[in-house]
Amino acid sequence: MLEINELRKRFAGGPGAPAAKIALDGISFAVRPGEMFGFVGANGAGKTTTMRIVMGVLQADSGSVTLRGAPLSPDDRRRFGYMPEERGLYQKMRVAEQIEYFGRLHGMSATAVTKATDDLLEQLGLTERKNDAVQALSLGNQQRVQLAVALVHDPELLILDEPFSGLDPIAVDALATVLQERCRGGVPVIFSSHQLELVERLCDSVGIVSAGRMVAEGAVADLRAAERNELRVVVRNPAPGWADGLPGTVTVDGDRHTLRATGGDDQEILRRAVKAGRVEHFGAEQPSLTEIFKEAVA
């Protein structure tokens, strides 16, 4: 289990630089083995800073990151896979060599890295491009190489900053499949994204960051349950005043009356609606992650 405890980070301002900014204001969360954790938040909320601190690329002012209860060491981090927000590859290096180089830096042996690279290239459909220079590849393919660089050493944990940005829907699905496979294999995956439907679809847990703090965290279903669930009833052509005395508000659109209510006795509402007219819809409205997000960061 990876635990992030009370991380704080302040970037100093300076002459010619932006004013001092508090990037992280005591952010905490935990990711369990085999869990896919979606990290969402507005631009500048602190997602990238958090990931950089976990990867040891930045130092926190205070707080800690622990793996199985012990502080993260450089050796632990070498077993992580990382895809930074700003993609970076050696443009003139060949695809396979590049992946192998990073595999070696992660401590793999020469023979193991060759095999892992071939497998990954196969899996990502890049086998024919293995001897091409990275700069000759399309952006989508470069992104795949970037992912291969993060995956080559069979990481113990994956940290991916905006892995889906700039990908077409097919590439998104392909990447999602790869991540889900790793996740089922017990590898925790932390990724940030602005594509909330995607996060909702893929993730077991979600963390919503705002202004350097975790404002909501947990399973998507739990977050929904925590939200006030709204009852929505649509009645066609009801008798006037049918909803008098019921909680909530009625909106009228032609002969369709819609009642939105929170709280109250839903069975009583249903009985009154049935009596009033033809009930077209009766149900609890599940807030989407987008709504939860907007609510949380508001």
Binding site: R52, G56, Y82, E86, G88, Y101, F102, L105
Partner: protein, 369 residues
């Protein structure tokens, strides 16, 4: 293999595979070979073709054992004059009393002919003059011009190689910073491993260049015969030059990495490195000045002061005899300076390399943590 060696190996293999490196190395080798043969081709003749008309050949060979003489006989003065004008012979001795040349005679040949002629005539008259004993009471100056020449070439080679490799270090740092590869790299290796590997790898390439130059240079010098003019102690000088290259390169490369890490775009490398290139140039100029006055106070003093010592001391070593303790002291000072600069460079690099965007100011980087 640890991170440092992996990084160094990548630098070497990536560079060695480029056309630029291979072609550059070939051109360097050709240039060096050409320079080594040039004195043979352009320089003063070590052989003369002489003619005689109605004269005895003079025993020039005995007076100048290092020079070869070829003699031709001409039937009359007219034929001899034509041969001189055609450049077939350098000079013709006519009737044992007159020398024909095309223009003023070569100084060395003229003196030689006069003195040998005098000796022969005197010998015929029964007078023999024992040759003067030459004895130097000062330093051995036989090799002075050869030494100065070697010093000039050496300092130029050191300057060009150090400058070239140092630029590569800075450009490599900026490549990694600008493309943000450094972020992935730094999640697997420590900053000092990344920086050290880069400096080590590019330094090895510089050494390959230097060794090529030395081997080709010495090889062609031996092949062309000018190696016979070399002063003793060349192997020691070669070893010292290798060490001085490593020290000088390490010093400037650490600074180049530090300055390079302040910018994020290749276009800015030139301007951010200006103070450093100035320093390398000044070092070169001081060393070049020292080739003229290797025993002067300035050369002696500066040959102890890093980083100037990295070029001035090799010049002194090439141009004069330098006591070993002086070389040792100068190297020790340089090693200390290199260690200090490496620590400083690594600190700047570590703090600046992840701060992409606008050019950073050195002062700000030093102040902020």
């Amino acid at each position: 293999m640890n991170g440092l060696m992996l990084v160094a190996r990548r630098e070497i293999t990536t560079q060695v595979r480029t056309k630029g490196f291979v072609i550059g190395l070939l051109i360097t080798a050709l240039l060096v070979a050409a320079v080594s043969f040039a004195p043979k081709v352009l320089g003063g003749d070590d052989s003369y073709t002489l003619g005689t008309v109605n004269s005895q050949q003079l025993p020039l060979q005995a007076a100048a054992p290092d020079t070869t003489f070829e003699w031709r006989a001409f039937p009359d003065e007219g034929a001899a004059t034509q041969a001189v004008l055609d450049g077939d012979v350098d000079a013709v001795l006519v009737n044992g009393s007159k020398v024909l040349t095309d223009g003023k005679i070569d100084d060395e040949l003229g003196v030689l002919l006069q003195s040998v002629n005098r000796e022969v005539k005197l010998g015929a008259a029964g007078v023999s003059i024992p040759p003067l004993q030459m004895q130097s009471v000062g330093a051995d100056t036989r090799y002075e011009s050869a030494r100065a020449g070697i010093a000039v070439v050496l300092v130029l080679v050191l300057f060009m190689l150090i400058m070239g490799q140092v630029m590569m270090v800075a450009m490599g740092v900026v490549e990694e910073k600008g493309s943000r590869i450094v972020e992935i790299l730094l999640s697997t290796v420590r900053p000092w491993q990344l920086l050290g590997g880069k400096i080590l790898g590019l330094g090895t390439l510089g050494l390959i260049n230097l060794v090529t130059i030395l081997v080709v240079g010495l090889g062609s010098a031996m092949a062309s015969g000018i190696a016979t003019d070399f002063p003793p102690g060349i192997p020691g000088l070669v070893a010292a030059v290798l060490v001085w290259f490593v020290l000088g390169y390490a010093f400037f490369a650490a600074l180049a990495a530090a300055f390079g890490s302040l910018v994020s775009r290749q276009e800015e490398v030139g301007s951010v490195l200006t103070p450093l290139t100035m320093l390398v140039m000044i070092t070169y100029f001081v060393a070049f000045y020292a080739t003229n006055d290797a025993t002067g106070t300035l050369a002696t003093v500066v040959s102890y002061i890093p980083p100037f010592s990295s070029m001035v001391m090799p010049v002194r070593m090439a141009a004069t005899e330098v006591p070993l303790w002086q070389v040792g002291a100068s190297m020790a000072a340089m090693v200390l300076a290199v260690l200090a600069v490496l620590a400083f460079g690594a600190k700047i690099y570590e703090r600046a390399v992840l701060r992409t965007g606008a050019r950073l100011k050195l002062g700000d980087v030093l102040r902020t943590k």
